[in-house]
């Protein structure tokens, strides 16, 4: 009875806290500018089924891809077990779903195999990050918290799965001994291998072990749930909407700024119908996170820092400062900072003298980009660091007139000669008569 009350309080508190933190992230994402990503819903659902649910882009890198699918499937399916744990916790029952008989045995056995898969996957990932030290996990932007974050996630998952298996092992021993309440239910192909470790324990100790693991497992899950909003691991939730709201246009197509279209129409034809003046002065491009659109901000919270974008980026591969992963991480960190600022100032953002451009992302990074779309192609969930880079470039050029000198020369040539080089437009057809 007391256990049930404690359980219900913990569960309710965990759910409430999670709700509050998710609501905050949602609020922050919606600070972004409007962009229409709700067209063509059938194609979007298909894309989500293929890329997010089906993990089609993960397997481009087979080792990480297969391991990730193991973790993903394990995570999703083992959560069915959490339903039973929650019901048992609330009502003080034990293995309430065991009435399902053979199906129950099959499910428990599957969970065990998947738990083993998750443990193996996590260990492989841990080794890749900490022992093999794959290049893409060694970049500077991962120093400190991001690298620890990744390891905490892996360790937590191993602990949770171990608790699950130890719980089953002790439960099964108690079942065999016919100890009270421990009804014969479930099939334990993996945890049976652990049984010899606990065989000589007394019944009381086994009950302690089983209950301990049960509580550790569920409290761990509630705690982990509440860790998500502070972690790159939040991708397990946002990956699905992020893929759904992907850019469906060809990757080569960049947005035409509507605000610029109006100005250009006026320049070319002073008699053109003048659109109503906007309420706030027009700003071209993006200086800070609030100038980006909500999908770009959602991308920032979705990125799980795998670094495939960065490892495929030609600029990064040749030692330039640019790392597409860092662009999204910076966007997220700045947005989190802006969100805190808003919380502290009763709902309005008070200028803190900082901006995404300059304080987080430098001009050198932006000017290293080849706009080649290697980053967007390699992202397993279609995130778009290039869109952020382009918006910041636009601000540099159109608001600050701050392009590298050579590019200003190129602009002048296009304006004067209709070509990026200094050739006379009159000579444009000379090639046809040259040998």
């Amino acid at each position: 009875m007391i256990a049930s009350i404690i359980f219900i309080i913990l569960l309710a508190f965990g759910a409430f806290l999670f709700y509050k933190n998710v609501a905050k992230i949602r609020r922050n994402v919606l600070l972004g500018k409007e962009v229409n990503r709700s067209d063509n819903s059938s194609e979007r659902w298909k894309l989500m089924a293929l890329v997010a649910i089906g993990q089609s882009k993960m397997i481009v890198r087979p080792v990480a891809g297969v391991m990730h699918i193991l973790l993903y499937v394990g995570f999703v399916i083992i959560n069915i077990e959490v339903i039973e744990i929650i019901i048992d916790g609330i009502f003080g029952t034990h293995r309430i779903l065991s009435f399902a008989g053979a199906l129950y045995n099959f499910l428990i056995a599957s969970f065990e195999w998947l738990a083993l898969g998750v443990i193996i996957g996590c260990i492989v990932f841990f080794i890749r990050r900490n022992i093999i030290k794959l290049n893409r996990f060694m970049n500077k932007e991962l120093d400190g918290w991001p690298r620890s974050d990744a390891n905490y996630i892996l360790i937590t998952e191993v602990l949770l799965m171990s608790a699950f298996l130890i719980m089953n092992a002790s439960d099964h021993l108690l079942q065999v001994k016919g100890y009270e309440h421990y009804i014969k239910a479930g099939s334990f192909p993996v945890s049976n291998l652990l049984s010899p470790l606990f065989e000589n324990m007394s019944n009381a100790s086994l009950v302690m072990l089983e209950r301990g693991c049960w509580w550790f497992h569920i409290i761990g899950i509630i705690a982990f749930l509440n860790y998500l909003p502070y972690s790159k691991h939040f991708h397990i939730l946002l990956a699905f909407p992020a893929v759904y709201f992907s850019n469906l246009k060809p990757k080569g197509e960049f947005n035409n700024l509507a605000s610029v279209t109006n100005e250009v129409k006026l320049m070319l034809d002073p008699n053109a119908a003048i659109p109503p003046a906007p309420e706030t002065p027009l700003k071209f491009g993006a200086k800070d996170v609030l100038d980006l659109n909500w999908k770009q901000l959602m991308d920032a919270y979705t990125c799980t820092e795998c670094g495939r974008c960065t490892s495929n980026c030609p600029a990064n591969q040749t030692g330039k400062l640019l790392s597409p992963r860092k662009i999204l991480m910076d966007t997220r960190d700045r947005l989190t900072e802006v969100g805190k600022n808003i919380d502290l100032n009763n709902g309005t953002f008070v200028d803190d003298g900082k901006a995404l451009l300059g304080n987080y992302i430098s001009e050198e990074e932006l000017w290293a980009c080849n706009t080649c779309n290697a980053c967007t192609e390699s992202c397993p969930i279609n995130l778009d660091p290039l869109a952020v880079i382009m918006d910041l470039r636009q601000y540099l050029v159109m608001e600050q007139s701050n392009a590298p000198a050579a590019l200003n020369g190129m602009f002048t040539n296009i304006e004067n000669n209709g070509a990026p080089w200094q050739f006379s437009p009159a000579d444009r057809l000379n090639w046809a008569s040259e040998d």
């Binding site: 481009v60 060809p250 990757k251 080569g252 197509e253 960049f254 035409n256 700024l257 610029v260 279209t261 250009v264 320049m267 070319l268 071209f284 491009g285 030609p314 600029a315 591969q317 040749t318 030692g319 330039k320 400062l321 050198e364 000017w367 290293a368 980009c369 080849n370 706009t371 080649c372 779309n373 290697a374 192609e377 390699s378 382009m390 470039r393 636009q394 050029v397 159109m398 590298p404 050579a406 590019l407 020369g409 190129m410 602009f411 296009i414 209709g418 070509a419 990026p420 080089w421 050739f423 437009p425 009159a426 000579d427 444009r428 057809l429 000379n430 090639w431 046809a432 040259e434 040998d435």
Partner: protein, 262 residues
């Protein structure tokens, strides 16, 4: 070499004729000495199959692509709208470009600004011509040669066209060897995003050197490209490794023209 027949839209208009397709030459194709050879190869193919085409000649202007990728949306849209005025003035319906950047910009970014055309890249046109039997291709000098194709970002990843250039190369009875980083995984030549027009940012290697090294490791006779900027970058890269006597860098259209003795 036979005389090229290069009618302009203005010429045809004066004669009351309309071409089936407009050949958008592009700035590199018009002014860059090496790229002009690609332009001529494309014209030779067009002449050879008797396609009724025209160029804009001195009425053509930069699409605005490098300005847009560099962040100068104003200049891009100025260029775009002026070009669209010219193109719509001639009632252009179909365009073939000699450059994936022009191709991408006119195909994807002009429609919203009022320029709606059917746009194809020259490798797509050549493939169409081969498929329809209008252009016969035999290996000629490329038969059995080792070829490595470098995907242009704005043709491949940018617009999903990986097959056309490869299909053409295979028609030459050549041995097409793929680099590890090819198709969707292709590495940029280093010119994109207006990098062509500026010094590279600080790093430990030039992108074109990295890419040429990868291409040269395939031990090719020819590095095939489909973009005048890739051409510049890959040629510079091949020179960097002092392999210019052994390895040719050719546009796919040049290979077709040479194989057919055009």
């Amino acid at each position: 070499m036979s005389q090229l027949n290069v009618p302009t839209m203005a010429d045809l208009m004066a004669k009351g004729e309309t071409p089936d397709i407009l050949f958008w030459v592009g700035c590199a194709g018009s002014f860059d000495d090496r790229a002009k050879k690609i332009t001529k190869a494309i014209v030779k193919i067009l002449n050879h199959v008797n396609i009724k085409f025209a160029v804009l000649g001195t009425e053509e202007s930069c699409t605005g692509d490098p300005a847009k990728r560099a962040g100068n949306e104003f200049l891009f849209q100025m260029q775009a709208m002026q070009n669209i005025q010219v193109l719509n003035g001639y009632d252009v319906k179909k365009i073939v470009t000699g450059c994936p950047h022009c191709f991408n910009t006119i195909k994807n970014e002009y429609p919203e600004l009022g320029g709606k055309y059917e746009v194809i890249h020259h490798t797509q046109l050549v493939q169409e011509l081969i498929d329809s039997g209008k252009l016969k291709v035999e290996g000629g000098e490329f038969k059995g040669k080792k070829i490595t194709f470098h995907d242009p970002c704005y043709l491949g990843r940018g617009n999903g066209e990986y097959e056309a250039p490869r299909n053409i190369i295979q028609k030459l009875d050549a041995e097409l060897n793929e680099m590890k980083r090819s198709r969707a995984n292709g590495l940029c030549c280093g010119a994109g995003g207006a990098q062509m027009f500026k010094e590279a940012e600080k790093g430990n290697k030039e992108v074109n050197v990295e890419r040429s090294e990868e291409a040269l490791a395939m031990n090719p006779d020819v590095i095939a490209v489909g973009c005048p900027f890739c051409m510049t970058m890959m040629r510079d890269g091949v020179k960097h490794f002092e392999k210019e006597d052994k390895v040719q860098v050719l546009d796919v259209s040049e290979m077709i023209a040479q194989a057919n003795d055009l």
